[in-house]
Amino acid sequence: MSVRRRHTLRALSAATAVVALAAGCSSANSGANKGGGAGASGVLTLGKPDGPQTNNSNPFLATSASATLGYRFMIYEPLAMTNQIRPTDKADPWLATAWDWESNFTKVTFTLDKRAKWADGKPLTAADVAFTFELLKKHPALNGNGIPYDGIAVEGEKVVLTFKESQFVNQNKIITTYVVPKHIWEKVENPETWPNRTPVGSGPYKLKTFTPQTTTLTATPDYWKGETKVKELRYSAYNDNSAATTALANGKLEWSFVFMPNYKQLYIAKDPKNHKLWFPSGLGIHGLWFNTARKPFDNPALRKAMAMVIDRKAIHVQAQATLYPEISNPTGIPLPAGEPFLAPEYKSATTAPDVDGAKALLKDAGFQLSGGVLKDPGGKPVELTFTDPAGWNDYITGLSIIKDNIKQLGIEAKVKTQTAEAWGNDVATGNFDATLHWTNSGATPYDMYQNIMDGAILQPIGKSAQLGNFGRFKSPEATAALKEYANATDDPTRTKAMNTLQKIMVEQAPVVPTAAAPIGAEYSTKNWVGWPTEKDPYAAPQHTQPDALEVVLNLEPAK
């Protein structure tokens, strides 16, 4: 026994030593204050379920901890700050005081703010901005937005970009490019695989410590825009939703973005005065994509009839737990974000179910309802199989609501679940009847419509269509309107193209919009106030969005 006990002790101490050794032997915690959210000491705790991270602050890589946790936006700053949830508002000047588009969005001139400087004290100049654009142009792997950069020139203290084609639809992506310091990045041999472990940016925060579990950022005292109230940002990665929800409920986590079905009970009720939740949307949607290359879904009347009976309210309440904003307009444009784009004929349109109207439409198109079964003009009963990944409960609940809705038209539907991988593969190769899936989003509804119906990215069934148009929607009219919208030289032409796209969306229903894609967040007003709200929507509330910087700068200690 005694021998064995000695072994146990040895094993125990060895194991402890392993942990400590792996962690590196420095005494870094002498002055650390324990505990989570502590507004009094100027700390803001934020994070979401991302799992342990690795030390990587390369802002251009979607796989880096700085992108996953979102702290890249606290270190690097954009030329201009757009509002994701009010994309039509004019952007706020940031590193650039002005950006002037000329010659139909093929040329832009940036005038830089002279006060801007890097955290190491060096001034931020036009050379840095031009270098950043050169970097993106030279390395397609870093150019996540796929912007076709052409001419990049420094003219005095201004930077001029020229393009071969109109960049109207990409304008927000270009002006929100975050700038990296030339004097550091020019020495990097391979920026695509550079982990950038001591990031130097122009933003108000710098990296203090990195651990797989928590990344701590501390305020730069001499930030060029003035001192910040939040002195320390503590980003924690939780392993799953329930861990993050627990931390939110007990106040350890103050700012997060977790989907929780019964948020009222799990979060709000724990501290009704301070625990707040707001899920606004940008211009992206979730919708039911039809495979328009399969019979009988190639018939627009059938698709439109289904769109007319789907109960968005039920999907909003039961499937999305009222977290995803409801789609109230048949064009699929989320409101109020996309209000200015609505065509006059759809301004007052609603998505209220209209079963009789749908039945009449089907009858006119040659469909027959006999004995509760809808038959297509060829006499075959209309059946379809909905597919989505198992475990994606909001989607699966949505599908079963849709299934009940279309039963009123005599359409028999089945809901089939798949693994996420098999589903992704089937959607890309066109091996499905109908599926709930998301769309792209951007500064205008163009991104969403282009993703749904652009003939230029159409692939035959069986070939992977990763860029979009998963439903194989073939409409020369839509393709032409998309092209016209992107390249138009004046606003009336653009409006006309946008109205055409909306008409196609409503009349031919390649996708039935079911919910707006939220850019939501949970936040606590216990220690910090000044968050964006429904009444004051100055920025998207999510901490992984570019405008998170605006939110942090707007925060003040609660009384």
Binding site: V19, S27, L61, N239, A243, A428, N440
Partner: protein
């Protein structure tokens, strides 16, 4: 000696087969890393990013399966496990080395504790049948029958939310940096209590039951009766005669369980947000991160094989029948 050589040759072949399967299985699964990343972001990452991601991961160049396989071996021999896709461009070796110590410490210590505690209780309850210790059996079996994630969630609900005695998540306090100093080590131990206790609770029943049953069988053996007839102390008979023989199956069970320590306990790491290798593997599978998956599988395979070898050797030493030529 011949026996040992035979076993070694057998393990070499097994290792080769396992490594080859490690290479093949990830590639037979549907989907690719870029697609997995896109569906993780659910529309927040634009489809225009696909081209840049493919270029980044080097997936835009086509390579035959055979040349991938030979590359894989040549890199493996150099000790290079490649770059992880999920955490691009972090090397797989680094991802593993930052999570493995946590798993080794937590699961290693708890496996040891539950083995020692379970075997100890098994010895007593097998020797003193009918005492109050027998009442422990149904209780521990009941606890081990509870699905682990549920046990973990109940523990969190009671001890981290209702009475806030222990932390609910993480391996150490969020304000600390891993270092060899008292604040960090105490915090790590404190954070390990809930996961540790729940693992021990759910694993101990097996050891108790196995040990008790063997004790019952052994205690009716003649040599135990002889020892008692010699007038040896109760304690001596119990430990040196009965338990010593009864513990054999538990020892080999323990050697095998050592191999699974490395595999980690995914559920523990999920429920308690504990930094460990099981969760890393789970993420890698979800993200189609071939290099990371292969790296973790390799470590697991090798440690299971090593543990098996250990068990084989221990048996050969303890039981002469296994090394006799047939």
């Amino acid at each position: 000696m011949k026996y040992i050589l035979q076993r070694l040759a057998f393990y070499a072949v097994t290792a080769w087969a396992a490594i080859t399967i490690n290479f093949l299985i990830p590639r037979l699964m549907p989907g690719d890393p870029v697609e997995a990343l896109m569906s993780r972001y659910q529309g927040q990452l634009d489809t225009t990013a696909i081209a840049s991601l493919k270029a980044l991961f080097g997936l835009d160049e086509h390579q035959s399966l055979w040349s991938q396989y030979t590359d894989y071996w040549s890199h493996l021999i150099d000790g290079d496990l490649g770059l992880s896709f999920t955490f691009f461009p972090t090397p797989v070796g680094e991802v593993i080395s930052q999570s493995l110590p946590w798993t080794l410490a937590l699961v290693g210590i708890t496996t040891l504790i539950s083995f020692l505690l379970g075997t100890g209780i098994g010895v007593y309850s097998g020797w003193r049948r009918g005492s109050w210790l027998d009442g422990l059996l149904p209780v521990t079996t009941f606890i081990s029958a509870i699905p682990y994630f549920w046990l973990g969630l109940i523990a969190i609900a009671l001890f981290a939310v209702k009475w806030q005695i222990f932390p609910a998540a993480g391996g150490y306090d969020n304000s600390l940096v891993p270092a060899f100093d008292w604040p960090f080590i105490s915090s790590a131990l404190y954070h390990g209590v809930l996961p540790g206790v729940t693992i021990v609770l759910s694993a101990i029943a097996g050891w108790i039951l196995g040990m008790r049953n063997m004790m019952v069988t052994v205690s009716s053996e003649d040599y135990v009766m002889v020892a008692q007839a010699k007038g040896l102390s109760e304690r001596r008979v119990m430990f040196s005669y009965a338990a010593r023989n009864a513990v054999l199956p538990n020892i080999s069970g323990f050697a095998l369980s050592l191999g699974f320590i490395v595999g980690g306990t995914l559920l523990v790491e999920m429920v308690f947000s504990y930094p460990g290798i099981g969760y890393q593997l789970f993420q890698a599978v979800g993200a189609k991160d071939y290099p990371l998956m292969q790296g973790v599988f390799l470590i697991i395979t090798l440690s299971v094989l090593a543990a098996n070898l250990l068990a084989d050797m221990a048996y050969a030493l303890l039981d002469p029948r296994t090394r006799k030529e047939a």
